[in-house]
């Protein structure tokens, strides 16, 4: 009989707090593992050709109750070359609403910088996904990895109330 009572109580509590348990979500939808961008070609007389990567996708559900944003920062000790990122959000309709920020240069120890802002707090706009477009660039004057070693970045994306 006691089992029945406790089960009923747990059921009531579960139903009451079910929606609160479905909190915000922020994850890699595709990719997310280590990436290497190799600048390795040039047209004679021109600067080296940039290397790009678009294999990583973010997914979010901004169930914060307030408008939300995604920021980016990086740590790359002894950085020699340049790395940029922007978020391409294909679904600017009902889902994935927000404001895409211009391409951001990732610099060692930079402050958190807005990548995607004004994500609404209500459905369907609070849920969305976007592709991270990385671009690595190096001028001839910046040399090569044989001289400076590769740049290794730990890029951090933060999902927070705006």
């Amino acid at each position: 009989m006691n089992h029945l009572r406790y089960s009923t109580l747990l059921l009531i509590l579960f139903v009451a707090f079910r929606q609160d348990a479905l909190a915000q979500e922020f994850r890699f939808n595709a990719g997310g593992g280590p990436i290497t961008l190799a600048v390795q070609s040039a047209i004679a007389g021109s600067e080296p050709t940039d290397a790009t990567d678009s294999s990583t996708q973010l997914y979010w559900d901004a169930n914060f109750g307030v408008p939300t944003k995604i920021t980016v920062s990086t740590v790359s000790i002894n950085q020699s070359f340049r790395l940029y990122v922007r978020l391409n959000v294909p679904s600017q309709g009902l889902g994935g609403q927000g404001i895409v920020q211009p391409e951001i240069e990732l610099i060692h120890n930079m402050a958190d910088t807005d990548l995607f802002t004004d994500i609404p707090s209500t459905l369907p706009g609070r849920q969305g996904f976007g592709t991270l477009i990385y671009r690595a660039a190096a001028t001839v004057a910046e040399g090569n990895s044989n001289e400076h070693l590769d740049d290794v970045h730990i890029v951090t994306y933060t999902f927070l109330a705006q």
Partner: protein, 178 residues
């Protein structure tokens, strides 16, 4: 006893419902309010940027040199062309040089010299071309320059045999380590 149990469960239900509504009506944080740690989520990704050694060199334009004149009492006048051909190079490395060579020598009495306009900071000098590579530009550092000039000078001695339509030769430039 049954009535007490019913009241007991009803009380729990009301408490649960009250707590649920209270949670849903939590006001948004004030501007500038410190966000609780639980209200942020982070993802991290490792990105490696590797820049390879890049060395690119290209030439454009063919050159036609005709030795036709002379000054009475002296040798034939050289034919010079510094406008028909240019070269471009890109290197993100240091300590490079450009060497030049011919695919085959000219007939006796005919010679070809080449002077390259070097990229900034390099050293260049006019050299006689032959089948053996010879330094044309040295001490090349980081460069991305285009339309640099190549100046060819053809010489012929008076005992060089006329060669009609001319002798076709290919000049090869190579960008390499000093």
């Amino acid at each position: 006893m049954r009535r007490i149990q019913a009241t007991y469960w009803l009380t729990f239900a009301w408490i649960a419902l009250f707590m649920r509504i209270s949670a849903a009506q939590t006001p948004p944080p004030l501007p500038g309010a410190i966000q609780l740690a639980a209200s942020t989520m982070t993802l991290s990704q490792s990105i490696t940027v590797s820049v390879q050694q890049i060395n690119e060199l290209s030439i454009s334009g063919d050159v036609n040199l005709v030795v036709t004149t002379s000054t009475p009492g002296s040798g034939l006048l050289p034919a010079v062309d510094g406008a028909s051909a240019t070269y471009s190079l890109t290197t993100n490395d240091q300590g490079k040089k450009i060497v030049g060579s011919l695919d085959a020598s000219f007939s006796p009495g005919i010679s070809l010299f080449l002077l390259l306009e070097g990229p900034l900071g390099s050293t260049s000098s006019q050299q006689l071309l032959s089948a053996s590579p010879i330094d044309l530009v040295t001490a090349i550092g980081y460069s991305a320059e285009s339309d640099l000039t190549l100046t060819y000078t053809a010489n012929a001695t008076v005992d060089a045999a006329p060669n009609g339509a001319g002798e076709f030769r290919t000049v090869t430039l190579t960008l390499m380590d000093n």
